[in-house]
């Protein structure tokens, strides 16, 4: 037993270690060079035959040899693992330029979003939603709203007549009439929105069915100033801090009636853009966004209120046009055509 024996064991081990390149080969090498029958273990078994005086030193050299083998095996294992990992990572390269695989979300309709936006504004004023039928009796669509038969205002809303002398509602103001008829406790603050119908020839900008949003506020002591304040609040909440103006209008169910104009966002009210007449507002400098007024005394009387005691504010928004404007859609009919390309583009652009 001598150091050269140890060195030859180490040399042989190292020669084999250099050839090992896989975890399996390393395991085999480990079995043969650290197991019970490994050369170094066999040397250790021969220590009993060694002179006791020399035994400690020789044993120490054997132990040193065993440790060296363990350490070099460990080091080689780490290196092989690292190489294997590197190879795995290399092999697992993913082409992330490919399109993503999550389910592509669809989208809600711009009109729904606009209605919710309007309703969110109205909720701040304490309004709640009320629905009404789309097939209506002319009483709620016309007569109760101060539009008697043969009144010119009926021409303003060409009507689809249906069975039994009923009609498709031409405005959501019908819901106001139905609410007032119920005589709920004051104050009344309700909004209604949805489909309305006009018997018109359809083209890119005229529809036989479109959407409106309306609100009515009835209470004691509501004034024309309140009407203006409410309209101003709604206009600013929906459109931001643009200049607005009020102008006289005529609606059969309000008196006085008011139109609300918003300063044209293109020409800033000048009526000209780029040295030419502004197309966005037809050179008016203003765009009408709201129709409104104080609830007509005839309506209040019709439903049993004394107009000297109770007054009301009513207003309406053309949500179809508002949604189209916000989305940049010029042909509003496309909002009603179920063309998924349109819906996709409105959601995702392009």
């Amino acid at each position: 037993m001598s150091t050269p024996d140890v060195q030859s064991i180490l040399d042989a081990f190292r020669a084999e270690l250099r050839e090992a390149s896989t975890p399996a080969q390393l395991d085999e090498l480990k079995r043969r060079h650290t197991g019970k029958s490994s050369p170094v273990k066999l040397l250790m078994k021969g220590l009993r035959d060694v002179d006791p005086a020399d035994r400690p030193a020789i044993a120490a050299s054997f132990n040193e040899c065993a440790k060296t083998i363990e350490a070099e095996l460990q080091s080689a294992a780490s290196a092989i693992e690292a190489r294997a990992l590197e190879a795995q990572l290399e092999a697992e390269w993913m082409d992330l330029s490919m399109p993503g695989l999550a389910m592509a979300r669809g989208g809600r309709h711009p009109l729904t979003l606009m209605e919710e936006r309007c309703m969110a504004v109205m909720r701040q004023l304490g309004f709640t939603v009320v629905e009404g039928p789309e097939v209506e009796h002319p009483y709620y669509n016309f007569d109760a709203l101060n539009i008697p038969e043969h009144h010119p205002a009926r021409d303003m809303q060409d009507t689809f007549w249906v069975d039994a002398g009923w009609l498709l509602r031409s405005h959501t103001t019908t819901v106001q009439a139905r609410v007032l008829e119920q005589r709920p406790q004051l104050p009344i603050r309700v909004a209604s929105y949805g489909r309305v119908y006009r018997n018109e020839a359809v083209d890119a900008t005229h529809l036989a069915m479109f959407h409106q949003f309306e609100g009515i506020w009835v209470d004691r002591g509501l004034t024309f100033a309140h009407l203006k304040g409410t309209l101003e609040f709604i206009a600013r909440a929906l459109y931001g801090d643009h200049r607005i103006r009020f102008k006289p209008k005529f609606y059969p169910y309000t008196e006085p009636s008011v139109g609300v104009d918003l300063e044209c966002s293109v020409c800033r009210g000048s009526g000209t853009s780029g040295g030419r007449s502004c197309e966005a507002c037809h050179a008016a400098g203003w765009v009408t966004i709201l129709g409104a007024g104080m609830v007509h005394p005839k309506l209040l009387i019709e439903f049993g209120y004394d107009p000297a005691e109770v007054t009301g504010i009513a207003f309406g928004l053309g949500t179809t046009r508002m949604a189209a404007q916000k989305a940049g859609v010029t042909k509003i009919r496309s909002l009603y055509e179920q063309d998924q390309r349109v819906m996709r583009s409105l959601k995702r652009g392009g």
Partner: protein
């Protein structure tokens, strides 16, 4: 209405700056739609308020300006008429003619024309010159808003008779190629043998004045607005005259209008022949409305004195008398048709002050309301659908017969029964929709035509179902409306994916329903299809199911029937459709019940059975669930593999089968005592035996 600045200036003073004038007109509700300054005078095209007939003339527009500026109103020259003895007999047989005058004019020499200035006034308004008599009537209407008409007196047979037409009576309106039949009861101006004019609407060819006319009857009258309107609509003839009369004309202006026409024609070579005949002298009802300064200021939140309010109203032509603190306001004759309440007077005051100059305040409000439960739940539904790639759309509330034909149902089918529109301009709007499937499939077809085969659409809408209802009863609608949600999908389930090419099918929609159930906390489930569902026949008989809520049917789901696809010319894709009642989705749900997860590892085993067609996998799962030990916690279907049985027939074909793998999850037992493998295996053996006992005869075997 088109007006010229220089003409308007004859009636009142105007701002020097044209832009300022435009803003003023807008501010008064005389909205300027167009400004033209080409070769002629500067003109404004105005959109007038629909109820203000008195605005349809220069004088009316000028009066509105005066109401703001307080500057004087000027009017046109007229000839005073002798009303003591008329020169043409007039008989009134109807009270619908409020007042009527007839004045005879003759000419001895050549026909003259109106002055150059008058003709320019007409031209600026877009009215072409025809002859002096016609031009004079047009100009009078344009200037002071009184429609008038001229007849060739030599073509009038006897007295002028004011009456209502009888059934079958015919007239020959100007510019018409032939006589037209008038509805019985039409207000007409006639003589002994014919109709001279449809009152307030248009004259007739057989009495019209021409270049050869030497004797005229000038008509100036006020007719009942509704009668004029009915005649105008019935004949589809809309004139400046009818527009004025049907909004309510000034009953005190008939004589003035005649005087203006006479004045104009006297300048063109005509002279009066005798006095003016008049019937139906207007009796002023003296409409008086009482207001107070406090009431006015309370309404407008202004601080105007009673005198200031009176002065404003007087600018508009109202008469005001004080009675203590009360202002007794007399409505002028040209406003009888639109002023009846104090609010109408408040409007006048507000217009004079300026709508943009009156105070603004926000009424006191309560704390804002939160979204209602229905709104919140609808958003939750939308979120599920949008998350699964659906786009919201809107369809019309009606369709044409194409929809019924597309669904392939016969006339006795429930889907053939509709609420109908009676006057739609387009045939495609003739039926109120009683289902959403037709429009949904049509949408798929439209998208396919545009090369969009992967379609996922949904809509909240209503369907309309006919109900027996008597004509005109406002409490009984002929339509029962149902609010529904529908969705349709066609093409790939994951359209954006280049790796998953699977197509949508009824199970995809079932997954959507299950997600809705989770999101809404509702017990939505699928059940066997119901043949009583109107859509049953339009969906694939073997690929449809009822949707139930707490056991009650609330909707339907399935693949669109191939015959329907053929009718809609859909060649690619197998669209699947679902429809659920909105009230079911918006009903209150239950929140999920939380169960603390077991801290120990569950035991999982798989069982696979081979199923023949028509044996539902869920029925096998139900057996496993029912007959498993108490410690069986879950049964899930985790795989399906389609295969054929070993060929049995001479043609070598086997029966198509599905190998369904069920994952069974067992509780591992109480802590520290894990369940033995023998115990679990014993339970599995029993379950296999039970399934084969119940379904073995149907061909179910373990694989």
């Amino acid at each position: 209405m088109r007006i010229a600045r220089d003409v308007l200036e004859r009636f009142t003073e105007l701002p020097a700056d044209n832009r300022e004038l435009r803003l003023l007109l807008d501010d008064l509700g005389l909205e300027v739609k167009r400004v033209e300054d080409l070769d002629g005078p500067l003109t404004f095209t105005l959109e007038l308020l629909a109820n203000r007939g008195d605005h349809h003339c220069y004088e009316g527009v000028a009066r509105e300006i005066v109401g703001r500026t307080g500057l004087g109103l000027r009017t046109v020259a007229t000839t005073p008429l002798d009303l003591s003895v008329g020169n043409w007999p007039v008989e009134r047989h109807t009270p619908l003619v409020l007042t009527y005058t007839a004045t005879v004019l003759v000419r001895d020499g050549e026909a003259g024309t109106l002055s150059a200035e008058d003709l320019r006034t007409l031209e600026a308004a877009g009215i072409h010159s025809i002859s002096a008599p016609v031009d004079a009537t047009n100009l009078a209407n344009l200037e002071i808003g009184q429609p008038t008409h001229v007849f060739d007196a030599d073509k009038v047979d006897g007295p002028i008779i004011l009456r209502e037409s009888v059934a079958g009576e015919r007239a020959w309106p100007l510019f018409s190629e032939e006589h037209v039949e008038l509805p019985a009861g039409t207000l007409v101006v006639a003589d002994r043998s014919k109709i001279l004019a449809v009152a307030g609407v248009i004259g007739c060819e057989d009495s019209k004045a021409t270049e050869a006319t030497t004797r005229l009857v000038v008509e100036s009258a006020t007719f009942d607005p509704v009668s004029v309107r009915k005649a105008s609509r019935a004949l589809s003839i809309h004139t400046d005259s009818s527009a004025r009369f049907e909004r309510g004309a000034d009953p005190e202006k008939a004589v003035l209008g005649a005087g203006r026409v006479v004045h104009l024609l006297e300048g063109a070579g005509w002279r009066r022949d005798g006095g003016t005949s008049r019937v139906g002298i207007w009796e002023d009802p003296v409409r008086v409305i009482e207001i107070t300064a406090a009431g006015t200021n309370g309404f407008l939140e202004t601080a105007l004195s009673a005198e200031a309010i009176a002065e404003i109203l007087e600018r508009y032509g109202f008469g005001v008398a004080f009675e203590g603190e009360t202002l007794r306001v007399r409505v002028p004759s040209w406003r009888l048709w639109d002023v009846a309440f104090p609010a109408d007077l408040y409007e006048e005051v507000a217009k004079s002050v300026g709508y943009n100059a009156t105070p603004v305040s926000l009424p006191p409000v309560d704390l804002g309301a939160l979204p209602g439960a229905a709104e919140t739940r609808r958003q939750a539904v939308d979120e599920v659908l949008v998350g699964n790639g659906f786009y919201e759309v809107f369809t019309d509330g009606f369709y044409g017969s194409w929809a019924v034909e597309g669904l392939g149902v016969d006339e006795l089918h429930p889907l053939a029964s509709h609420v109908t529109t009676r006057n739609s301009l387009e045939r495609s709007y003739s039926l109120l929709k009683n289902n959403c499937l037709a429009q949904a499939v049509s949408a798929v077809a439209t998208n396919a035509h545009r090369r969009t085969d992967d379609v996922k659409l949904f809509e909240w809408t209503r369907t309309f179902h006919p109900v027996e209802a008597p004509e005109g009863d406002k409490t009984r609608s002929p339509s029962k409306e149902r609010a529904v949600l529908w969705a349709i999908a066609s093409g790939r389930a994951f359209p954006g994916s280049w790796s998953d090419k699977s197509l949508v099918d009824a199970l995809f929609l079932k997954g959507v329903v299950q997600e809705l159930a989770v999101e809404l906390g509702l017990d939505l489930a699928l059940d066997v299809p119901s043949t009583s569902d109107p859509l049953h026949d339009c969906l694939h008989p073997g690929r449809q199911a009822s949707i139930t809520l707490d056991g009650a049917r609330v909707g339907i789901l399935g693949e669109v029937h191939p015959a329907v696809l053929k009718n809609f010319k859909i060649k690619r894709g197998r669209p699947v459709y679902l429809e659920i009642r909105a009230d079911a989705l918006l009903a209150e749900g239950s929140p999920p019940v939380f169960i603390e997860p077991d801290s120990t590892q569950p035991i999982e085993r798989h069982l696979t059975f081979s199923l023949p067609p028509r044996v539902e996998a869920q029925s096998i799962a139900a057996v496993i669930d029912a007959f498993g030990p108490e410690w069986l916690t879950h049964v899930h279907i985790v795989d399906r593999f389609d295969h054929l049985t070993v060929p049995a027939g001479p043609d070598g074909s086997g029966e198509p089968r599905r190998a369904i793998t069920f994952e069974l999850t067992f509780s591992p037992g109480s802590s520290g005592q894990s369940r033995s493998a023998d115990e679990v295996n014993g339970a599995l053996e029993q379950l296999v035996a039970e399934v084969e006992r119940q379904y073995g005869s149907a061909g179910v075997v373990q694989r």
